[in-house]
């Protein structure tokens, strides 16, 4: 067996490599080589997970596309420190007393990347385009608060009837259907961005390509090679160009977290957008200053299909499953990424709202488990007659890890017999959407805008995302009313009622708050965590020599 010796030798080499016999013991000695050219041109290299399907702000979806679009386009309002709404193209705005009319005053120095002024007409054109059925934007419904938007989406009215008007080049008036307390928040979404009409009309679908694209943000398209990188360059006509330090931003689509980490460690990236859970401990040990875990407005939950047995009409069973989960173990021992546990429908990361939470979140383990068992028995299940169900999750995601742990906990605490079933991503989406075959399923939701309504609305009986089939008139009423009530005690009360109803009925098992992880090199200055994940490259700078020793020292 001389040749097996070889594979053992190969194995030993592997061990040697892993334990670091190379030049760099930890692999974390900072390769502090920012991309600053001889002429002082600064490039920020950004790990961006997946390739954006499109950079048309009205058709794009997903975090990676939003990351690029934030640099390319500027809406009426944007977000600043602490994710507060601050002026974008609109330098100021007024809201009528009936809260139905928003009048925006556009800054006179806002320019497209070809030097042409950004006008109110551009916004009128763009918002109409965003809701037009011919555009078929999957985010069109985010504009539902605007007058006639829903009718336009439904093909009942022409796009020209949308409640937007431009009395003059620098005044934009938007009329709403009903008072909407979170309307300004929806305007920070990319689908509210302006697009340059002549470019859209000349180039059609390819108006986003370098050479075609005309943008109004701090940057404009420079190069785009699908699956390799998107490069944007400084827009010299941007109104705040003088204060923009970074000249170029490169967005690298790297799906695999370990590959991204390697690229970051090897000095090919200044910013990594994910951190593999397995690497967290080592990162925290070696480069704690570069590691940021920022809980965002997103929830990870398990959905229970309320349309069929065993979960239809069995609130106690649903609650028993929820109470049987030890969320601390899941977040501390399995995820290890600083994710907060979740005992409510809305995460507390949403600004200006304190969620209602399950009161048993602070109970001692034994008490919680005992109650879960009692509910399980009252629901009609026992050791002789255990619950048998399937947990459905999409391949290749965190749903698998969660499922394995949850299934084990349900078996241990309740004696329930749950079978994990994985499906390929698109098959899973279809199965979950149709809701015929699901029992327990993986659910995750990142809010569209910074308001509790982005969470409450998905459990409305009429909502497209309501895969649980939850149908509660009391909940629907409270949710719908809260979405039109001005911010204040009355709205908070309505939202608390909605949330309490939802938690009581337990169509979902909330588990943790989604958390963004970033690795940022110390020479990238002015980093501020954003719960919304809204990072604008124009706010950063690259200072070579900053923390050159790779040691401590803040930003």
């Amino acid at each position: 067996m001389a040749r097996t010796g070889l594979s053992i030798a190969a194995g030993l080499t592997l061990v040697a490599v892993l334990t670091g016999c190379g030049g760099d013991e930890s692999g974390f000695a900072n390769r502090l080589a920012p991309a600053v050219a001889a002429d002082g041109t600064k490039t920020l290299r950004y790990g961006n997970q997946t390739e954006p399907g499109t950079l048309d702000p009205h058709q794009a979806s997903g975090v990676p596309a939003a990351n690029v679009l934030r640099d390319l386009y500027e809406g009426l309002v944007i977000t600043g420190a602490d994710d507060k709404i601050i002026p974008g193209v609109a330098e100021s705005w007024t809201i009528s007393d009936d809260r139905l009319t928003y009048t925006f005053k556009l800054r006179s120095d806002a320019r497209w990347s070809n030097g042409k002024p950004v006008t109110a007409q551009d916004f009128v054109y763009s918002l109409r385009r965003a809701v037009a059925p011919t555009t078929a934007s999957s985010y069109a419904d985010i504009h539902a608060p605007i007058k006639n938007a829903t009718a336009i989406i439904n093909n009942d009215k022409p796009p020209e009837t949308l409640g937007v008007a431009a009395p003059d080049a620098h005044t934009l008036v938007i009329r709403l259907k009903e008072p909407t307390p979170f309307f300004l928040q929806t305007l920070t979404h990319p689908s509210s961005d302006p697009v340059y009409r002549p470019a859209v009309e000349q180039w059609g679908d390819s108006f986003t390509q370098p050479g075609h694209a005309v943008t109004n943000g701090a940057y404009t398209m420079d190069a785009w090679r699908v699956n390799e990188r998107i490069r944007v360059k400084r827009n010299p006509y941007y109104w705040d160009n003088a204060n923009t330090a970074i000249d170029r931003v490169e967005f690298y689509p790297i799906e695999d977290g370990n590959s991204e980490l390697s690229r970051y460690q090897a000095g090919g990236l200044d910013w990594a957008a994910t951190v593999p859970p397995a690497a967290t401990a080592r990162i925290k040990r070696h480069i704690p200053d570069q590691y940021h875990a920022v809980p965002t407005i997103g929830i990870a939950y398990l959905g229970l299909n309320m349309r069929h047995a065993p979960f239809a009409d069995n609130r106690k069973l649903r609650l028993a499953l929820s109470m049987a989960l030890d969320r601390d173990v899941i977040t501390d021992k399995i995820l290890r990424g600083g994710q907060p546990t979740l005992y409510s429908a809305v995460p507390d990361t949403v600004r200006g709202y304190t969620p209602v939470e399950y009161d048993w979140q602070d109970w001692p383990d034994d008490k919680r488990k005992a109650r879960a068992r009692r509910l399980y028995h009252e629901a009609g299940y026992s050791a002789e007659h255990p619950l048998q169900a399937e947990y459905l999750y999409p391949s290749g995601g965190v749903g698998k890890t969660l499922g394995l742990v949850a299934v084990a906990m349900w078996r241990e605490v309740l004696g329930a017999d749950i079978t994990p079933i994985n499906q390929e991503w698109k098959v899973f989406l279809q199965t979950a959407r149709e809701g015929y075959d699901t029992q327990i399923f993986w659910g995750g939701w990142i809010g569209d805008y910074d308001d509790p309504n982005t969470f409450f609305s998905i459990f409305n009986s009429k909502a497209a995302l309501n895969y649980t089939g939850y149908d509660s008139p009391a909940y629907d009423t409270a949710q719908e009313r809260s979405s039109h009530t001005p911010t204040g005690a009355k709205r908070t009360a309505l939202m608390h009622k909605a949330e309490a109803t939802l938690l009581h009925d337990a169509p979902i098992i909330p588990v943790w708050v989604y958390t963004y992880h970033q690795l940022v090199k110390p020479y990238v200055t002015s980093y501020q965590p954003s719960a919304l994940g809204n990072y604008y490259s124009k706010n950063f700078d690259i200072r070579p020599g900053q923390d050159a020793d790779g040691g401590a020292g803040g930003h």
Binding site: S7, D24, E51, N258, A266
Partner: protein
């Protein structure tokens, strides 16, 4: 041989037609739609999207539309990469895969053929064991392990090579090794087995009996015949390696065709899947044709009747 080649070329169009039809059916029958995404949309918006992409039409009508476009060599717009046409995506992805795959193939052949021959002529001797052990080590470490391992060793713990992406020749070293080692194992093993067999074949004995020099026997008679299995393997093998390996492209962040294809399939990007499948089919057919012609040329025993 010319008549044979022409006959084969005439068969290309029907073959591609069957391939296209079967693929069209497969992708449209598979559950999940290109429109499904993280964020579900209201039924009205879904209807608008379906209308935009003609997905609301009967399948046969969509098929007709697709065939008409394909006949003009227009594979349409990608569902996933909406801003780019399928033709453009193939045109940017293929050269990258071709470069990585081509070098990997070269790596496998340049190392594998001599190693295989060496092992064969020194059968059951230390050289044989060494060559076979080395080639088997290559296949027993899967490339999704070898790739990250090399990155750790050469890019992270040591600053010798870039960890990924495109650029100068340094960017190709690790992907080519990761992709090439598997093919190296195939080439070496097949080469060894075939050489051993050919060395014993009657026509080689005849050649020797004719008093030809050992070198001449080897180069003129043994080598061409022994290459036959390697070439059979390389027909589809080369087509596969040149059109990209999703694993290696993912690990090293290379924008090749293999990655396009798998993401397209996962996203149910009908047009991109069909476009790449057809492209791949053309390459397969072309390579297999070349291989069949090579057979007759390399091995006098092969005739097409």
């Amino acid at each position: 041989m010319l008549a044979y080649t022409l006959k084969r070329l005439a068969g290309v169009v029907p073959t591609l037609f069957i391939l296209l039809t079967a693929t069209f059916l497969l992708v449209h029958l598979a559950p999940g739609s290109p429109l499904d995404g993280d964020r579900p949309m209201p039924a009205e918006i879904r209807a608008n999207l379906e209308a935009k992409y003609h997905l609301d039409e009967p399948l046969i009508q969509q098929y007709g539309r697709y065939l008409a476009n394909t006949a003009q060599l227009d594979f349409g717009a990608s569902y996933q990469y909406k801003d780019t046409s399928v033709n453009d995506l193939i045109a940017t992805g293929f050269p990258v895969s071709l470069a990585v795959g081509g070098f990997s193939l070269l790596f496998a052949l340049v190392l594998g053929i001599p190693l295989g021959i060496l092992a064969a002529v020194r059968q059951n001797m230390p050289a044989d064991y060494g060559a076979m052990g080395a080639s088997l080590a290559g296949i027993s470490v899967p490339n999704f392990v070898l790739g990250p391992l090399m990155i750790l060793a050469f890019a992270v713990y040591n600053d010798w090579l870039p960890a990924g992406g495109l650029g100068g020749w340094q960017h190709y070293v690790m992907p080519v090794i990761a992709l090439g080692t598997m093919y190296l194992a195939y080439v070496t093993r097949l080469m060894r087995a075939a050489t051993i067999e050919v060395l014993r074949a009657p026509f080689i004995r005849t050649a020797r009996a004719k008093g030809l020099s050992e070198t001449r026997v080897f180069v003129v008679h043994v080598l061409p015949a022994a290459l036959l299995p390697v070439i059979s393997f390389l027909g589809p093998g080369a087509a596969a390696i040149l059109t990209g390996s999703v694993v290696v492209e993912q690990i090293f962040g290379i924008p090749g065709l293999g990655r396009f294809f798998v993401t397209a399939a996962l996203n149910r990007d009908y047009t991109l899947v069909l476009g790449i499948t057809l492209f791949y089919g053309i390459i397969i057919i072309a390579f297999n044709l070349v291989v069949d012609v090579l057979y007759g040329w390399l091995d006098p025993r092969v005739t097409y009747r």
